[in-house]
Point group: C2
Chain length 126, copies 2
DNA sequence: TGCATAGATGCAATGTTATGCATATAGTTG
DNA sequence: CAACTATATGCATAACATTGCATCTATGCA
């Protein structure tokens, strides 16, 4: 039962749901998630590892990049049922659609690059 | 999306899952839940109203008694899918089975009576 | 009308979670 | 091997959740 509590705990946070939603679109690395959702690097990393810990994700390391993706094959029946119910809720949702759309326009550049772009915008704003 | 977060938040607590499990067995009032799970009256009441708030339960008042039960008909498709996935996880679980078993042996007596029995046990223990 | 009882709730104390910042780690490349 | 870069993580803190206790409300019954 501990497991079930852990699973639902992971899902009971808007940011984590948003990340899960992105990954349903396609595999992502930490920096793509941070870009697409406009969140910090440490937050992105932590969320991905939380989703990984309970078994929703698998991880494929490619050099410096950590590519996370939904681990449909690795999930047991219970977890899968929950994941499917969740995915279904995302499908029609406006803001989730928008996030997925945003991901499509996102190129894979590292966090440092994202931060530089951030600085630029800040400078322009001044 | 707020709703989904709220739903998973309610489910991300062992006591609340245990209560949901009991209600899958049969409708219960606050005092039956507190007896069957050996939790306080206020806790039992709060858990039931939390499950009610997100739409898992319906409430039928019978005089002084508040009878809560799973509201299958009232749930929308998404909530129902989550409830079903959750119920499935409970089925085989040892401790959840034990709780349901315990409920079968539970008679409906009010909280004050439960408390008196509690006192008695404490006195015997001394 | 007043007392007893089931359930709900305000409040305070305690425990848990989320998150930014700084820094560590581990590949990669020159 | 040194510098660079993507990711992970320790720590501090602020926000939030849980729970017991006391008390309130509402119903039933004498």
């Amino acid at each position: 039962m501990r497991d079930l509590v852990k699973i639902y705990k992971v899902l009971s946070d808007e940011s984590r749901l948003r990340v899960l939603n992105l990954l349903l679109e396609r595999p992502c690395c930490v920096c793509e998630v941070m870009q697409a959702l406009d969140i910090s690097q440490s937050k992105s990393s932590r969320i991905l590892s939380a989703l990984y810990d309970v078994g929703f994700l698998k991880l494929h390391k490619e050099g410096l990049w950590s590519l996370y993706s939904i681990d449909w094959d690795g999930m047991d029946a219970h977890l899968k049922a929950i994941a499917e119910a969740t995915a279904l809720s995302f499908k029609e949702n406006r803001s989730m659609k928008a996030d997925r759309e945003h991901l499509r326009k996102t190129e894979r550049v590292g966090p440092s690059c994202v931060n530089k772009m951030c600085d630029k915008e800040v400078n322009i704003a001044r």
